[in-house]
Symmetry: C2
Subunit: 406 residues, 2 copies
């Protein structure tokens, strides 16, 4: 039983990187259309101006703005229509005094024009344009480079690609992105009582839960993990973990990390090639019996068998580690609310309290969810958690708390 | 120009369903491991108790709790060890007075036992167990049905499947789920100036943006959309839209919905089989020149060409429509913050103001982002929006506002 020497949650990440420096993110190239939720490996700068020409933002006529001054519904300004610019056309037309040229939205403003009057405020009499409203200088025109200047950083290293920021990249013709290479994962559920989808259920057995929750949590990163169930047998677990370290960067072993009779995870890691267990328990609740080790350059987690502990440890350690390795900025996965009940915490341990959110009088109310460890329904009832630090004795009803989403 | 008759944003959804009743969600079956982010089609109830037997939550010894009363470090209680229960075993052992049976976490509590003492508080002398701490009734035991009772609703219709709630389903042996069938999407970008990834760029042209942003926004639903770029030619657009309605439930046409010279979307919809345009502009800003129509039972959107308008309309109409058709509950995609500046709005139009979030003194501060319509960089600078309703004249600096994520 090594659990007397628990590691502080705040030291975990540094420790892992000290043990496996090669975990630092690597680069790969990803197509723009496949880039949803990928993380940018380096700053991206614009290599040209956007727009590359003075562009109309409306359908209407290009004119010289001074010649519209004083125009009104009653007393229009008159212009001679001198053709049109087509969208997509690189025009060489020049606008002279007293002239108007039709320019649709998105098309290039001809030289000499300094304003666009929207078609809604115009009237056409053969070749003559009547303008019923004055426009101001550069109204309805987006100037060359106004959106982006060549050299501007568009997106920073660590930016998570969203539908919104893909637009800028497409406008610049950036169709391939340097992104952080995804980690490959394996999940191994251990336990004699654990049965899989294809095994017959008998009373006394427990259907595998953790391989499913962990697998879906990993899918959130767009990664499909290998998953396996193995019985509590040293040789079988050893063989399976060995295989997994060959095909994966990170191996999650679920169950077998508490201090009971049939716990092989720690022993298995120790005998692997380059094997070492360097975390024997963490000062958190739930999730204390977590072990972390490695086999050569591969990271191995022994997660608690309890479903909630297992997913909490995944979220607060594995997920955060990856986000940190990939320099993700604010992942926007928290909000604030008001606590509905007094909360006590365990001194010396960081407590992760499951909560459910309700809305009362336009205020987000945070309701702690309690239940026995191992209750699977706690997970469906809660939709996030709050953190009570090492030194926090508790929180009073009505406190403003920061809530993390799963 | 039909834009005089704009439709109120609040009426859009009802109108669409009146015109195309068959859009109502349909059911399909999905494997549990592929169910991330899928939406449940009907309530799911437990068909058995969880756990199905009294289960130990710790590694330790099953005893009768009364026989541990008064036990302490100095004066232990003594028990005779009568073997063990294996995990996964359906035990028929019976515990008699003065006996203890080893039961690891997850294993079945033998008849006659009513409490578990953790191994940490025990000492073993050959066949005798010394217990150094009293336990209370049913301590460290999860009772039959305590987590879930047969018949309990586990997840409701409209629940979005998360890693967390998959655990409960797996524990019940529910490996296939009734979920809402995904809608199939096509995206058509129109415009003579629009060029695609494989076309050579020339000044005057604009690289396609909307097909990328829309495509990634749809990927958030786990749907890969067909995308095409077509020139502003009536016959070409007609042919492409026709093809798309055959393969898709929802067709998004980007560009071509303002009132200029080359706008064919509305005309194209009108001549399609069973074609009808029933929304000719919406009372929102940005996004006014949006048209909505149908061809038989297929829904067709003519989205504004401006990238920001296009993605805003997608988020506030198309995305919300799908969530609503699939009965999604609180999608948890909003939070509250404090406004950094006074904001004005346009009376009679619902304004969607882009914002960027910052944190100051533990408070989320909401900074409005301004820029010309059509600026692509607005999208990378903002990470959500606030809504100023029809009747809101503006909001004062310091107001508490509800922020929607993209």
């Amino acid at each position: 039983m090594n659990f007397l020497k628990v590691t502080n949650i705040d030291e975990i990440e540094e420790l892992i990187l000290k043990k496996i420096p090669s975990l630092q993110g690597k680069k790969e190239i990803c197509k723009l259309e496949d880039s949803l939720n990928r993380v940018l490996y380096e700053n991206l700068a614009a290599d040209l101006n956007v727009p590359e020409f003075n562009r109309s933002t409306v359908d209407g006529y290009a004119i010289k703005f001074k010649e519209s001054l004083g125009a009104s519904q009653g007393i229009p300004a008159f212009f001679t229509i001198k053709g049109e610019v087509l969208v997509g056309e690189h025009t060489s037309k020049k606008l002279e005094s007293g002239e108007a040229i039709y320019v649709p939205a998105g098309a290039m403003i001809p030289e000499g024009a300094d304003s666009m009057i929207m078609i809604e405020f115009c009237e056409i009499l053969e070749d003559t344009l009547l303008v019923h409203k004055p426009v101001s200088s550069f109204e309805n025109i987006m100037l060359l480079g106004e959106d982006l200047r060549a050299g501007d950083v568009i997106l920073k290293k660590g930016a998570v690609i969203t539908p919104e920021n893909v637009g800028v990249l497409a406008s610049l013709g950036i169709y391939e992105l340097p992104v952080f290479k995804k980690f490959r994962f394996s999940i191994i559920s251990t336990g004699d009582e654990i049965i899989g989808e294809d095994e017959e259920y008998k009373i006394g057995k427990i259907r595998d839960i953790n391989a499913y929750t962990l697998s879906l949590a990993i899918q959130k990163f767009g990664i499909v993990a290998e998953k396996k169930i193995v019985k509590d047998n040293f040789e079988t677990i050893l063989e399976e973990v060995k295989k997994s370290t060959e095909n994966s960067d990170i191996v999650l072993i679920s169950g077998g990390s508490s201090a009971g009779n049939y716990d092989y995870t720690s022993k298995v890691i120790s005998v692997l090639d380059g094997g070492e267990v360097f975390v024997h328990g963490i000062s958190i609740k739930p999730g204390k019996p977590t072990i972390i080790g490695k086999s050569n350059e591969k990271l191995i987690f022994g997660l608690p068998g309890h479903p909630i502990s297992s997913i909490v440890v995944f979220n607060i350690i594995v997920k955060k580690l990856i986000e940190s390795l990939h320099f993700c900025g604010d992942s926007d996965d928290y909000y604030y609310g008001v606590l509905s009940h007094n909360l006590h915490s365990t001194p010396g341990r960081t407590t992760y309290q499951m909560i459910a959110k309700t809305i009362e009088n336009n205020e987000i109310v945070i309701n702690p969810i309690f239940g026995k460890s191992g209750m699977t329904t706690l997970m469906t009832k809660s939709n996030g958690y709050i953190i009570l630090g090492n030194n926090v004795e508790g929180l009073e009803k009505g406190s403003r708390v920061k809530v993390y989403r799963f």
